[in-house]
């Protein structure tokens, strides 16, 4: 057997670790939306919402830890903070983030395993529509319960 890694008549891959003038934009390349299309936006939003929801998870645990202090601490948190309209808006943002990340995650999983590839745009549109409808219903529920 010939050594597959040695270039015997084959072109070896360039040394990717060599310092280059590659002008890779690094992390800026992920979040730069200029010129990007729908799938590019989905990628960026998935990343941002994934990190956002992760941040929220820790925040959530921190808030829940107030329960350990006692009912007084919890009740005052509720009264002074969470019934505030600002938090109502944040609830909508959280729901939007979860919907974007979850639905896009299902899309990425399906398409990424080679399923629904030829209809991937329609899938994105369908999930977008489902997400918008659920977000609308959720927002109305937040308003009716929080008011």
């Amino acid at each position: 057997m010939t050594d597959r890694t040695a270039p015997t008549g084959r072109t070896a891959l360039p040394d990717a670790t060599a310092p280059s003038r590659a002008r890779r934009r690094g992390v800026a390349g992920w979040v730069d939306v200029r010129g990007r299309r729908l799938g590019g936006w989905a990628f960026i939003l998935n990343r941002v919402t994934g990190l956002g929801v992760l941040f929220y998870l820790y925040l959530h645990l921190l808030v829940l830890s107030q329960l350990a202090i006692g009912p007084g601490a919890w009740d005052s948190l509720l009264k002074n903070w969470f019934l505030n309209p600002v938090f109502l808006v944040l609830d909508v943002v959280l729901l939007a983030g979860l919907l974007i990340h979850g639905l896009n995650g299902i899309r990425v999983s399906l398409v990424g395993f080679g399923l629904v590839v030829s209809r991937q745009k329609a899938l994105l549109g369908a999930f977008g529509t489902i997400g918008a409808i659920v977000l609308l219903i959720g927002t109305l529920m937040f308003i009716s319960h929080g008011g």
């Binding site: 597959r4 084959r10 990007r36 299309r37 799938g39 990628f43």
Partner: protein, 244 residues
Amino acid sequence: MSDTVTFRVHRFKHGDAASHHDSFEFEPGPRSTVLDALTAIRRTQDPTLTLRHSCFHASCGTCGMKVNGQEVLACVTNVRELGTGEVTVDPLGNAPLVNDLVVDMGPFYARLNAVERPLVRESELVTGARTASGIPQPLRYEDCIECGICISACPIAATDPEYLGPAALAAADRVREEPRGGDVPFVLGLADAPHGAWRCHVAFECSEACPSNEAPASHIMQLRRSLIGRRWRALLAQPVGAGR
């Protein structure tokens, strides 16, 4: 209203500390392309402007660049249809910069060579085409014109210099579909790697940007599907208790 369009063109010469944009005025006709504009600018305004081009008809793949932030072939991009009074022209991204609008295509070509893709399709010979006597039967080439637009549009290539990239992965999938003497297990081995087909995050920017109907993202997904099948088969072929 003047029909003159201002071209803001990326400039960089060897030894420059940083790149900048120079502005040039150009009056496009109804069918002027960005490449027409740039070659006219070079001819009449600044002979030091460097760019790559050859065929002027979307075949050679040398004139890929970013026009108003999006990757296009300059030779088939109509200036008027852009609809902007100012047109910004930049070199392709995710490739080493050489000069003005020229990037080093070497690493990109090396990846295409690594997957040892044959250039002529067997499945779609142009059998219906009529040829004059003495002229051989026309051949059907692969769709990819090796322009590098896909890797410039890819958000993953922005942070992973080792990523094989859309064009090479699409080419690998073409080898899988039609080996034509290629070493399929070797090529699939290159693709079945962290910086291969699994690196993609399904943004589909490559397929959107590709000017030549190659649909590299769909090829990456097909490739993954067959790689999953390959892994299953390898797993099932293992004798019970092996690997312990």
